[in-house]
Symmetry: C2
DNA sequence: ACTAAAGCCTAGTAAAATGGTCGGAATAAT
DNA sequence: ATTATTCCGACCATTTTACTAGGCTTTAGT
């Protein structure tokens, strides 16, 4: 089981796409600016998201990415799985050969935990997140920041409350 | 949030202690043999477990480790916390300064997930694990293996089913 | 046709974490 | 004294993370 910035970035970027749906393709440059994630890193993450059929790309000027399915049909667990290549906590990857070809003492515990986490995250869709109050507030703040591009870099270092 | 072999090893070792409670101190060498965890690595893990008041050590020959509290009073979350120094999924470590002094889009999602995981793991005590059928079966297998020490190394490589 | 904006791809890389090893203390039972 | 054990600090190889660099391809706009 891995839950690091990688997965967090992926979910954040996908949520950004969900928030700006209907405005045509969103460029990674925009996401990079709004969410403070390195552009090249985003490219790598989106390569995986595309391979996993979560986003659809449009090349050329004015191009960018769009969600491949509607936001209610994409859940958080999928997104993390796509970039992490496994949301599994067992280590033996459910093969149960943790101890010399046999299960280790705590094998089933980690299986249960994996199910728990997966269940929680797969129960949350991008649409659910979009409708959360805290997400809407942050999204509005980001939109205001984008309106004054020259302040963007500064505000990303010293919080302009 | 980190859930890797480190935490798994710690929980496995603590469960091994719980299973052999009442037989006096258990040496790390025994645990190393039974659970297939490197002795030196166990030493490092137990240094943290001791600092976190989860185990009690006895030095000298015949020494070893014992649970500091009864097994019903030690839960899995504590053990993982002790070796990982945080069972937190947020990355900003709940300080909410993920994006230039302000919360990022998905801050609250990760807070919720952390609560979920912590709630699940803190609801499981070592005593709970000891009573599980699968744990008892594995423990018995390990006891049989310990009875024939010469076969231990071999069976840890090629499964002797 | 040209240019520029975007996606796409590969390689490299510094820093951190993981999962150890090694050597030598200190301590206590025999 | 010897020996079995915990303790402790340094070191190390490998992997992952998060990121940069650079080049190539596609395509809209002029």
């Amino acid at each position: 089981m891995r839950l690091t910035t990688k997965g967090r970035y992926a979910v954040t970027a996908m949520l950004d796409l969900a928030l700006h749906e209907g405005k045509g393709p969103i460029s990674l440059a925009d996401i990079s600016e709004r969410q403070g994630i390195s552009l090249s890193y985003l490219e790598q993450l989106f390569a995986k998201l595309r391979r996993n059929e979560l986003v659809h790309s449009v090349r050329g000027p004015g191009g960018g990415y769009q969600l491949k399915r509607e936001r209610g049909a994409i859940n958080v667990a999928e997104v993390i799985d796509a970039v992490n290549e496994s949301v599994d906590a067992t280590g033996c990857n459910k093969t149960a050969n943790c101890q010399g070809g046999d299960v280790c003492l705590t094998h089933h515990l980690w299986c249960d935990l994996s199910d728990q986490i997966h269940g929680f995250l797969s129960g949350i869709s991008l649409a659910d997140l979009v409708h959360r109050h805290d997400v809407q507030e942050v999204a509005e703040r980001q939109q205001r920041a984008m309106a004054q591009p020259e302040k963007l870099i500064a505000s990303s270092v010293a919080s302009a409350s």
